[in-house]
Symmetry: C2
Subunit: 433 residues, 2 copies
């Protein structure tokens, strides 16, 4: 927003308009949230399936709009990786349709009552799962996220305000038309999902500063965006910062499992937050495991950086610095450290990790139990690849993101993470003595 401040009067007028515009969206969302709170499961599912039908019907409009976005992006010199994320295709639209059908098929979390019990006073007390209210989602120029976010917020009974990257402007507008039509057909308020139409960046600043209209903000994007939003938000934020994930191979590990997990956790995909960035290896097995691992990594083109002890075994790899231990590469690069047992491994993870996902490979019951209890990460694994840290793999059906926060939602966030629980008390005229 400093970019705005440095510009001239006409921008200021625009900012004033943005505040009024966002306030209108906020008011409409708050009002829609009251209606969504009582929307029945069938209507929510009908809206999702109607949206899927609209996507099918307007497929060519959406692809045309996306082509306009892509042409503008190319003219503006957008990087190839960003163009790829922006691009829609028949296959991607099919995936969006399928995603909507999957969310429609998920159980509705709203209204579930847990633990209803009689108390000595005669009242019954339980907790009912209810929507959060209004959810603001800020994300990059990936049009499929528009639909994903809309569908999860809708199914969980929330109203949402979606603010995607400006490069996807036309695609998002075309998708928003499908969403509105789906809501209309199901008799739900059209403002239950609102896609921010302005590309003015001040819209983000306003969205995160309206606690009277917005209950929670979920930013999805690069670390610097998320840090800025967390710092400036006047609304609670469910966020994902970095994923500096570790695999610790203990001396008690099964050799085949260790090799399979260490290779998969790094090489299955490089750009994902649950990819291993540092391999910790117990000293007694380092000499036996590092050479075959190095060979496997070489086949995948993974660059290795090691501590002194690792480099005594793998003599041709570069030295890892302090910075390497604290880096989320998101690339075919791996830091390797030889440690002395589980205590040193846990200490390393505590110091350099990002509390995302960490795994131990061991056949020792006591060590597995200790690692599970003592490693303070959103996912802690025994004998499994860190790549499993994912809403679909965990059975949430879908995920809106992976939270590295401790409060409210931790790890993959599905429908349940978009709800909260209130107490319900059933009495028969009881009063407090």
């Amino acid at each position: 927003m400093s970019a705005h401040a440095s510009q001239s009067e006409c921008i200021e007028t625009e900012v004033v308009d943005v505040v009024a515009y966002m306030t209108r969206l906020g008011e409409a969302a708050r009002s829609a949230a009251s209606q969504m709170r009582r929307a029945v499961t069938g209507d929510k599912n009908r809206a999702l399936l109607a949206m899927a039908e609209q996507l099918q019907r307007r497929r060519s409009d959406i692809l045309d709009a996306n082509a306009a976005d892509l042409a503008r992006g190319q003219a503006n010199g957008l990087e190839p990786a960003l163009l790829d994320r922006l691009a829609l295709s028949d296959a991607r639209i099919d995936a969006m349709v399928e995603g909507l059908e999957q969310v429609a098929a998920l159980p509705d979390p709203v209204g579930e009552i847990d633990g209803l019990r009689f108390r000595p006073s005669g009242i019954q007390v339980g907790q009912m799962r209810v929507p959060l209210g209004v959810i603001g989602i800020i994300y990059e120029s990936r049009p499929n996220v528009t639909l994903e976010a809309a569908s999860l917020c809708l199914k969980s009974g929330n109203a949402s305000i979606l603010r995607g990257g400006s490069e996807a402007r036309d695609s998002n507008a075309a998708i928003a038309a499908c969403i509105r039509e789906g809501l209309r057909e199901a008799g739900l308020p059209e403002s239950a999902v609102q896609v921010v139409a302005t590309t003015d960046r001040a819209a983000v600043g306003q969205l995160i500063a309206m606690p009277e209209y917005v209950d929670v903000i979920i930013p999805r994007g690069g670390k610097s965006l998320i840090e800025r939003i967390s710092r400036e938000a006047r609304v609670p934020v469910i966020k994902h910062l970095d994923g500096i994930c570790h695999v610790y191979v203990d001396a008690t590990a099964d050799r085949e499992k260790a090799l399979a997990i260490a290779v998969n956790a790094k090489t299955h995909r490089y750009g994902t937050c649950n990819t291993m960035e540092t391999l910790l290896i117990d000293a007694p097995v380092a000499e036996g495991l590092l050479p075959p691992l190095a060979e496997a990594y070489a086949e995948h083109g993974v660059e290795l950086r090691g501590c002194e002890r690792a480099r005594a075994i793998l003599t041709d790899i570069a030295a890892a610095t302090e910075e390497d231990w604290a880096t989320e590469y998101l690339a075919p690069v791996l830091a390797i450290r030889v440690v002395d047992g589980i205590d040193a491994a846990i200490a390393h993870i505590e110091r350099y990790g990002s509390h995302h996902t960490d795994a131990i490979v061991t056949e020792d019951y006591g060590l597995a139990r200790r690692f599970m209890a003592e490693v303070d990460s959103s996912s802690v694994m025994v004998n499994a690849s860190t790549r499993f840290a994912d809403g679909f793999e965990y059975g949430l059906g879908a995920e809106i993101g992976i939270s590295t926060d401790k409060l409210h939602a931790r790890g993959p966030v599905g429908l349940e993470g978009l709800t909260t629980r209130k107490y319900v008390v059933l009495g028969d005229g009881q009063v407090r003595r």
Copy 2:
């Protein structure tokens, strides 16, 4: 803290010291949190019972320290209500001892694993309840809160930094000595509970600005303190703002239940957040219920303020203004509004309520079901007094406060609210395909 800014150099030096002091507490707490995370239930309970024993043994020291606080408070012209909250007695110390024994007897929430299930990939996924880490608690000059907060944070496996009001300085120091000794006897780190020793208000500013050392802040006190902390905190806050609680008496209510609940919700205690502040009464029964209610309230010395329709029945009461509907009186004052049915009641609660606790009195199944689903408050009740919204009444065993937030913990916050859940994944060498 503006008070500091307006003062001279020597304060600045003091502030610098406070930052260094609070940083040391933060570092010690973070380190203690790692140990507390793996503390076994038996040791935590032993520490709690050893603290109780220390309270008994040092009873006269504590009362002496408290007498010094009271004398200073009186000399400084502290209000009688605040002096009363500050005062300890043999009975209050007995209650503190009993409180510790009760917390020791509560089940330990840490380590509980929910929903461990096999996934198609062969991994098992579940969620394990774990401590939040380091909890900062900021509260008023009520020495018994020091022990209450310490015991709940300890039992839930957290380290805590407690910052009580400066008027209770000596009492808190005496209680802190009991806490330290209890921790020592149980072999737990003494810095698992740290009572801030300085009365410099800059300590609060620092405590809420150390996300590297503090995971969550729980402020307990007046609304302005909590608003300021929420605004300035760089750490998540679990907070309680106001309790503008409603009882809605529907035309379908049982007359005796309606009278009992409406009287109890207002008159059982006036200064508590779960006390009814506005009575909403359905038009068809207003004429029959308001006169006997007015009589009962008059016996208790409760001042009534009503809408025009209420004043047409109770002709001698004052008019309620817009401000009355939005006020938490915390006093023997009640606003009364005659409404047309449940929709008007819910609309009033949505507009003026504080999402704390709201109750309906009705014998109609459908209306009870609607009120439960549609009223967006932390506690929603049918045919029970709002005064039941309380950790003990709900069976939490104890409460650290009542949250009016939506995220993480909503309503009375007990041990569970001081924990979070991480995912645990148990595999047998599985990798992601």
